[in-house]
């Protein structure tokens, strides 16, 4: 079982791939960083992130939209719950 910190690091790696345009911001992000307002995520970035998370963590998301996740911490919490 991955720790929250390990999930966060693995997620950062995915985010870098999902939206490499903001690499500096993502490298310096924390759990309070907002996906849309801080990182400028759009619908394609979110789709990319969701698919990459499913593939990397071996979990399946319920129906999700951009509004379901405000911060990176929200995503970590979702993954954590799914891995349990």
């Amino acid at each position: 079982m991955l720790s929250r910190a390990e999930i966060f690091e693995k997620l950062k790696e995915i985010l870098l791939f999902a939206d490499a345009k903001n690499s500096d911001l993502i490298k310096n992000c924390d759990e309070n960083t907002k996906l849309v307002t801080d990182l400028g995520f759009n619908s394609v970035s979110v789709l990319y992130m969701v698919i990459a998370i499913e593939e990397s963590f071996g979990i399946v998301f319920d129906n999700v939209s951009m509004n379901d996740f405000d911060t990176i911490g929200d995503v970590v919490t979702y993954i954590e719950a799914r891995l349990k």
Partner: protein, 505 residues
């Protein structure tokens, strides 16, 4: 100028299949032919169920019974459904009665749906049960508009009607060339020309496996995905949620995918990250459009997976397809050859169109400026045509920058030059004013970080600036930019994911 005949596409398609690409006058004519010829082939796969052409027609026929008016009145029927078998059934039922389908995107709210009943004079709306709440205002204020749940079935069968080609078939929303939302009315002949145009320029056309990820409320989804699939006796798998796209691909194994460039790029990057072809081994072609297709995507798909990424150009007003590029590798910046049955002219760089695929007009709108004095539709797109007849989009009229010297600069044309550099993800050329009041051309770019990381480039700013300057210095003097900015974040985007253009002057 007359567009080429279909013979120009002959060499790209299997000869036997090319002979089967024939024009049809109406959706009814096309659908009857497909039902007769491919009755046991699966037409639609949705939500775990399959529907053959014959089964679909039986369902469509029962829905026709519900919709059909008592007299001879030709109706306008709204279709308010998300991507689903119900949408397909409703579209076919309405159009094969010779009625007009008014496509109401599923994201419309209740007031807008109500507004559409007024603006488009709707007689009925076929709505998906999941959208029932949004029809409440219509039920209350417009009792004359019949509301039909999309899962309704009549007890008896009703035959198709075969309207003439000029009978209105569908009204679709478009931003138009002025940016204001309008309803473009397409005749049966226009829809069928758009449908047939989707058959040109690649080898295997019939009996394909299409995956639908685009909204059917968009002309690219409705015509290039749905009706071309039905015309060619193919199977259409409806992906209900784009996040399941790759699972659906693994299960369905599509041979053709119709996608916007952003999705094609996402699939490529995910394939690289997970070191497997996320689009599956069966995929032969990606039909790519609705936005500019970066040439590097075409090359990378060919190199890494042997997949044809075929760019094209079209508008809602032209029933989707104006041109398609069968020479996608040799002329990767082009949107291809003009499809048959069109006339075109280029006036001050702008493409003007007339032809069988063109809309009959915007519904309930003034037509000032939409057409020229000879009835050609003004696309608002700036183009050029090369010596082989291939079309290139060089910009949009309203985006043109007129320099103090009087020279016209098309930002899009310049951006394509800089985007040739694989290390650039996006670019924007704009006019700016310096501190001393001089008007200059400026360039901002977003680096393509995966490529930069792959090549191990360390000083990104210096490296990119040098590479961009090299391109810049090769341009004619008046086109050269005076300032280059390397961004560390994406551009601001419009809701449709296009770059929001700067207006600094």
């Amino acid at each position: 100028m007359q567009s080429p005949t279909k013979e120009i596409f002959k060499k790209y398609t299997d000869p036997e299949q090319f002979g089967r690409i024939v024009d049809r006058d109406s959706v009814s004519e096309m659908w009857q032919y497909s039902v007769d010829r491919y009755p046991d082939t699966v037409a639609i796969e949705d939500d775990g169920k399959t529907y053959t052409y014959a089964e679909t027609e039986a369902d469509v026929s029962r829905l026709r019974t519900i919709i059909k008016s008592d007299g001879d009145k030709v109706l306008r029927v709204g279709i308010y459904c998300p991507n689903s078998y119900d949408f397909v059934r409703a579209f076919l039922a309405v159009t094969t009665l010779g009625y007009t389908a008014v496509i109401l995107p599923a994201q419309l709210d209740s007031m807008t749906v109500f507004g559409c009943t007024m603006k488009y004079g709707l007689d009925a709306i076929i709505y998906h049960p999941s959208l029932r709440e949004n029809t409440a205002i219509v039920a209350e204020k417009r009792p004359d508009v019949t509301l039909i749940p999309s899962d309704t079935q009549g007890d008896t069968l009703t035959e198709m009607v075969f309207p003439s080609g000029d009978t209105p078939c569908v009204i679709m929303f478009t931003g138009g060339t002025t940016g204001k939302s309008k309803g473009a009315q397409l005749s049966n002949a226009a829809v069928m020309q758009g449908t047939v145009n989707g058959c040109y320029g690649y080898r295997d056309v019939f009996h394909q496996r299409y995956l639908l990820i685009l909204p059917l409320s968009h002309v690219f989804g409705l015509i290039r995905n749905l009706t071309t699939s039905l015309y060619t006796g193919s199977t259409l798998f409806i992906c209900r949620n784009n996040k399941d796209m790759f699972r659906d691909i693994a299960a369905f194994r599509p041979t053709i995918l119709v996608a916007v460039p952003a999705l094609a790029e996402m699939a490529l990057n995910l394939s690289r990250k997970f070191k497997k072809n996320m689009l599956g081994d069966s995929l032969k072609a990606i039909i790519c459009g609705a936005a500019a297709v970066p040439p590097y995507l075409i090359r990378e798909y060919h190199k890494e997976f042997g997949i044809m990424l075929l760019p094209g150009y079209g508008l809602t007003e032209s029933a989707n397809l104006v041109s398609g590029n069968p020479e996608y590798l040799n002329k990767s910046e082009s949107v291809g050859l003009m499809y048959p049955n069109q006339e075109y002219k280029i006036v001050d760089g702008e493409l003007l169109l007339k032809g069988r695929n063109m809309m009959s007009g915007y519904v309930g709108e003034e037509e000032d400026g939409v057409y020229d004095e000879e009835g050609f539709f003004r696309t608002g797109d700036l183009v050029r045509v090369d010596e082989d007849g291939f079309l290139y989009i060089t910009g949009r009229i309203k985006e043109i920058i007129v320099l103090p010297s009087g020279e016209n600069i098309s930002p899009a044309e310049l951006e394509v030059k800089f985007l040739e550099l694989n290390l650039i993800q996006d670019a924007q050329v704009y006019e700016d004013v310096t501190g001393n009041g001089t008007h200059i051309l400026a360039l901002e770019v977003v680096p393509r970080m995966p490529e930069i990381a792959r090549l191990g480039i360390e000083n990104i700013g210096q490296h990119l600036t040098a590479a961009l300057e090299k391109i810049n210095n090769a341009l004619p003097t008046f086109q050269r930019v005076s300032r280059i900015i390397i961004r560390d974040s994406d551009f601001e985007r419009t809701p449709s994911m296009k770059i929001k253009r700067y207006k600094k002057c």
